[in-house]
Structure formats: C-alpha cells, structure tokens
Amino acid sequence: MTPFAQLLDRLIYTPSRNTKLALIVDYFRHAPDPDRGWALAALTGALSFPGVKAGAIRELAMRRVDPVLFGWSYDYVGDLAETTALIWPERRSNRAWPTLSEVVERLRTTARSDAPDVIEEWLDPLDATGRWALLKLITGGLRVGVSARLAKVALAEYGGVDPTEIEEVWHGLEPPYGELFAWLDRRTPRPDLEDKPVFRPPMLAHPLEDDEVEGLDFSAFLAEWKWDGIRVQIVARGGEKRLYSRTGDDIGAAFPDVLDHVTFEAVLDGELLVVAGGEVRPFNELQQRLNRKTVTGAMLRKYPAFVRLYDILFEGAEDLRDLPLVERRARLEAFHARTAPQRMDLSAIVEFAGRDELEALRAGARDTATEGLMLKRRDAPYVAGRPKGLWYKWKRGPLTVDAVLMYAQRGHGKRSSFYSDYTFGAWREHPETGAPELVPVGKAYFGFTDDELKLLDKWVRDHTVNRFGPVREVTHGLVFEVAFDSIHRSPRHKSGVAMRFPRISRIRWDKPAAEADRLETLEKLIG
C-alpha cells in the first residue's frame, strides 16, 4: 500500500496535469506487478467493492474510539474515511503492511459481513496515509482527479509508445493489466487482440467554426448528414459480437434487435437510431432505449433500433483503417451489398457542387433526424482520436424562441449560492377558461456570463413569489432568448414539447413578458 498511498496523497493536492503525469509514471516505474495494475484500475474507476459501505467504516472506528472524541474530530476534519484514518489508535501489530494486491484480492472474495474484521486487521500496521488510502480505495471515494485518458497518457509515456497504441489495446485488457505492463516493459510483444471482439478507438470530428468555412477546400471532402442518434461501433470477431458506445461501453444487452442481425465478421462505425416505418424517429425516442441493462418486448416493438453505417474498420481480420476514406467507403458499400444485414443501412453521401450548394443544403435541412453535416476528407485514413483537419461536424445554426422565466433553482458547486438553473415557459390559452397562461417548455443553466449570473440571481431574489426548497417561483417579468438544436413532441411534458440542448442565448431585459413566444410558435418548429 505504501507507494500507492503516497501516490494518492500527492495526486489529490496536484492541480497540474503534467505533474500528475510525472507522479503516475514514477509510480509505474517503481511499483511491482500486480500492484501497479490494480492501482491503474483504481485510478480509472475500474475497481469497486460494493460490499463495503461508509457505515462499516464508522462502525469500525467505534470499536476503538471514544464516540465523543470521534464526533468532535469528524466535525473538524469533515470526511469520514480521513477522520477514521487519522484517529485510528494503532495497536502494535506484527503484521506487515498489506500490499495493494493483497487488499484487492482479499476484499473481492470476502463476504460483506466479514469485511470490517478484514479491514481492521489492515488498519493497525498501516500509517495514517496508508489507512486513508485504504479506506478511500474500498469506499470508492478516490477522487484524485485522474481521468482514464490521463492514465492512458501516463502509460504511453511510461512505455515510450504513442497514446493511440494504448487506446488500441485498452479495451481488450482487464485489471491487473499484466499483459499491458509486460508489453510496455518490452518483455513481450504488444498484446494480440486480433481475434477478440474489442472496441477500437473511434475517429472523432472537430466542429467547423464559421471563420474556417472560407478557407476550407470543400472539394477534398465527402459530405454526409450528421445523424441525431448516438455513435456506436459494431464489433463481430471470432464468433462473438458486441455493440459499443463511443466511449467503449458495451451496450449490446439493450439492443438485441441490432445484434441479432450481425451475422458477419467486421468492425463497423455508425449511428444508432430509432427507425420506425422507414422513418428516423426523434432522439428522445432513442433515449427510451438507452441506459438500460435489458429491454422488454414492448420497447423493441415501440422503439425499434437501427444502425446507419458510415465506416468500416475491419472486414474479417483485415484492418482497413490505413486506407483512405474513399477506398473504405467502397469497401463498406460492397460489404453492405454482399451481407445485406437487416436493421442497418448506409449513411448516404450528400452530393454537392460547391460550398454554396452545401451551405444551402445545411440551412434548409430541418429534419429532426439530422443536426447538420459531416465533412470527411476523402484521402484520410481512419485515425483514432480527434486528429486536426480530417473530419468536421458542421452543425446547422440553432433555433431560438423568446420564453419567460418561471422558476429558478440553486446551482451546484461554486454556483451553489446562486439561482442559476432556469425553467422558462411559453404562452398558451388555458384549455378551459381561455385565459393566457405560461407552460414550462424547457430548462437551461448555461449561456450567460458570470456577471449576468449575478444580475439574474438578484432578479430572482427580488421577484420571488413562492419558495419550494431550493426552487423559487418568480413573477412573470423576465424574457430569455433561448437557443436549442431541435424540438420534439413529448407526452411526458405538460407543454407536449421538449427541446434538445436548450441554452440562454440572450437575456431580454427590455422585452415585456407578454410579447414572448406562444406555444404554437414552438410547435411549428417541430421537424
């Protein structure tokens, strides 16, 4: 535990990314296997011990410590694991410090009811920093500011390889990552994932900024619609098949209707959509199917999933990623024609003569299923990560309406003293009385500056008519110009509509609330 505890103890105080990198790389150099692999898993959030709860820690402390002194100490320190680590009255113990591996391996096989006894045995030989690290590790409260990405960069630096090489193998490996370190130490060749159904790091696009449009050579690019679904990767290899999200999460269990039709061997890149009656459905229908472990027959019938393919990374065992886009596209089309999988089609190439025509197409498209255009360089290989100048997303301009502030809620973190989350509404006639009334149409908490936030916070406090916990209802007197990407029908909302990505684009201090938009205006924007 010592080197790991010291690593954590430095990471929590270190704001700088480069310093964090240096600390992690140094740890990889000095820690033995499999400790460093478990540490890597802990840092990247791949370890959890659901059997140990915070209550068990408190109970442990109570075995040894005067409850009055514990209470005062906890008030002062403000963190249960840290208080316990610091206050723990060490008994002389002839046990050695437990290693990280010992802790992880033992806890994984310990029954929940035995966990406190096991932990107690470890607390005595450890010092305060070791106890703190142990308790943080097992209660899952590391929060040392290390993202999976940063850990991968550290691995790359440690092994003197390119970060994309780490990405490439990452999803095929599991803690404690023995193969990975063996390769980085040059004891073995790179782990061979050829015949495993692993996630391949995807190629991502940059937004095309307005000032870049002028200088871009459009003839070097293929254009496609930017579909409003979620990016997925279909991996079928060695007789196994998977559906991965953009970040490499296996979401296949929720989408048997797609995976059932994977009868080929390939790695394909595409957009997951809900398509019913040959028509792409709004994003919020897809949302019904996301974040589920399983799916019901009713869901499958109501929201049938579909993948619109736009790239091919592997065909069989053949890695196509080094081919230029136009060649991959030809391979994809031929592959699709040959295998003809159900619930999958090809994302069409948008033909255009020049920039003006493409710009007109982009502006004209208000289809709910698209968010704009994708531009992909014809000669570009498939490069993991977000390489410059190869792929662009060219989103259409947002829609806007004027809406009236109705409720404000306290924010989080550094905004917790401000009313920073705003619910706004549009006018309609009351269904029975015909009197004008506001119905909430959306909620936004960004799009304004810090100075504007101060003014908004004051306005909310000065115009409160009702309070419900952290929420204040305000008089109908302030108009926001709200921008959003699209708007859909939503039976779950009282107004019957839901916006995607709403944000405050302007505060209309000047505009009378009565002149804000009506619900019918919003309904006309539904694509």
Partner: protein, 342 residues
C-alpha cells in the same frame, strides 16, 4: 504544614496568568510590570513589560523581534538555575519547542506548578529537548488537542520532500515555514538527511537564522533567495529548496522562482482539507507542538494530578484527561494564537 493548592495563589487575570506571591505574570497578554516569558513567539513574548525574566536565548529573540526597549530590566536565567521572586522560587526547564523555550517551574511553600508554554516531545536538532518536571499542577497548551493530530516521523516528512525534489529536478521546492523555530528545524532536518547543497531563504527568515547560528546552531550553506537581476540566477533555483514565510509561498514573491512546488511545514497539514485550502501541493506534517498522544503522555510523565489548559482545543483534551483520572480545567486565556509557531 499542608502545601497550598496552586488554585489559591495563581490567578487568571485579564492580563494573563498571575502568580500572586511572586508578583509576576507568565507570558502576559498585555504589558505588565513583571513578566516571566516561556519563549520568543510573538503571542507569548509581547512588548512593553517593565521587567522580564527568560532564558538568554529568549531575551535575544525578543530583542530581535521587538527591538530594544529602553528602561526594561532583563534578567536571564539558565535552565535549571533557581531564582527567588517575592515569596516563590522560579526555575526554567527546556520545553523543546524552539531555541530558548522553557517551562516555568514555580514553587511556593512546597506546592509546585509548571507553566509549560508551548512544547513538543520530539527530538529537534535546533533546541534542547523537553524535560518532564514533577509538579502538582501542569499548565499545558492544547494546540493539537484533537485525536486526529498525530504527527508522523519528521524524518519521513523530509524524505518525502527530498523524493519530490528528485522527481521534479526542473522545479523549485518552496517550503512555507514560520521564521522562529520551524525554519531552522527544517534546515536542521534537511542537513541531517544529507542535503548539503545551499538552502535559499526569504529575506524575512535570515536574521533569525543568524541568531540561531550565533547561539551555536549551525545551519550550513544558507543563502538569500533574491532571484532576478541582482540576485541569484533563476536557473540556480531549479532542483533547489527555498524557505519562505507562509504568507509568501503563494504570493507574488514566489513567482520569481522556476515553476515552484508549494510545500508547507506545519502540524495543520495533517488535515487534507486544511492543506488544500492553502493551495499547498506538498504538505509536510512537521510541528513544533506536542501532538495528541504526546499531550496525554506528558501528563503521565509529569505526574501532576491536575492539568490546566491555556489555549487551543481544550474541550477534547479536557474530556480525555478527565477520562484518564486527571482533574482538568480550561483557563480560556484569549490571545494565544493557533498558528503562532506551529
């Protein structure tokens, strides 16, 4: 004859702790006629007293901190020597806190009280170690009077600093230290750990270091940390160690240093939230005060049935002292600082 309980001849007055039959205060909080001073930290050694009794080192520190005070009568007293003041006998005994720091033993008609000022129990290369003195009442501080304060081995803390220096050879480590005691102790510990390169110090720390040297505490190659045109070339600080007062380490002053790693040497660094609030990147838990275990151990060592607590977190310490069978009383003296020389 039964010895009079110190309760009957030592009083808490607005000026501080007053020894009635001796006619003097110990570490008075305001200017008084006669004062006995435990050590040179500014909350214990205040200006304006007519007569002062302290160790020679403490008197020298006071002269340096406060400046010459015309008309003040100064009486140096060596550790272990006994002097009669009024009807009491007074002697000073090492407190292990900073150079010259002393516990004051006052004896009156067979009754003994020890006023310990601030003290610690760990070895410190820059001052004499604490000596337990048997007494009837032990007057203690409680700066770290919560059981979460258990100071680790200071050598391990210095080893962490040196590890970091090795890991970041392009950066400079700037360590926040109080000018009296902590600065010299950190230098002493670095020397003990084998660090023989120059150590750079902020200008505000240098006179006190010189005073220590003049009292026979050698600190090795110590240089002013005046970077820039006239001073040390900035590159010389790379891989180096710079000491500065806590107020300077995250201030504009530190910007002259190459990519500093901000460190702070203090007992408060034990609590992470407190270290983070101060913008510290490498907290070093090095304290010149007794930790929780040492406070309680000291009560046992001096054998006093009764302890009086002057300042700090008296609540928890009283609770623990009572639980161990001591009579404990909080004096609630206002004016001693938490941070004075921690």
């Amino acid at each position: 004859m039964i010895a009079p309980h110190p309760e009957t001849w030592v009083e808490v007055r607005p000026q501080g702790l007053y020894v009635v039959p001796g006619g003097f205060y110990v570490d008075p909080l305001r200017a008084v006629d006669r004062a006995v001073i435990t050590h040179g930290h500014s909350d214990h050694a205040r200006p304006g007293h007519r007569a002062v009794l302290a160790t020679a080192e403490t008197l020298a520190i006071m002269d340096h901190r406060i400046g010459a005070q015309p008309g003040q009568a100064k009486q140096p007293l060596a550790y272990g020597e006994v002097v009669r003041l009024g009807e009491v006998e007074v002697s000073l005994h090492p407190a292990g806190h900073v150079l010259g720091s002393a516990q004051v033993l006052i004896e009156y008609r067979g009754s003994r009280i020890v006023v310990s000022g601030d003290y610690k129990r760990r070895a410190d290369p820059t001052c004499a170690p604490f000596v337990p003195v048997r007494c009837d009442v032990f007057v203690t501080e409680a700066t770290f009077g919560l059981p979460v304060f258990r100071h680790p081995d200071d050598r391990a803390e210095i080893a962490r600093l040196l590890d970091s220096v090795r890991l970041f050879p392009e950066r400079c480590h700037v360590v926040g230290v109080y000018s009296l005691g902590k600065a010299q102790r950190v230098i002493g510990l670095l020397r003990e750990a084998g660090w023989d390169r120059p150590i750079y110090a902020h200008g505000a720390l240098l006179p006190m270091c010189a005073l220590y040297e003049a009292h026979g505490v050698s600190l090795g190659d110590l240089r002013p940390a005046t970077a820039g045109a006239k001073g040390v070339p900035k590159d010389e600080f790379k891989g180096g160690i710079v000491l500065a007062p806590p107020s300077a380490i995250i201030d504009r002053w530190a910007r002259r240093l190459p990519d500093p790693v901000v460190c702070m040497a203090s007992g408060w660094m034990r609590v992470r939230q407190r270290a983070r609030q101060g913008g510290v990147e490498l907290p070093l838990v090095i304290s010149d005060h007794a930790d929780w275990d040492e406070l309680l151990q000291t009560f046992d060592d001096v054998g006093a049935p009764e302890v009086w607590i002057t300042h700090g977190r008296e609540e928890a310490l009283m609770h623990a002292a009572n639980a161990r069978g001591y009579r404990a009383r909080a004096l609630a003296l206002v004016g001693y600082e938490d941070e004075g020389g921690s």
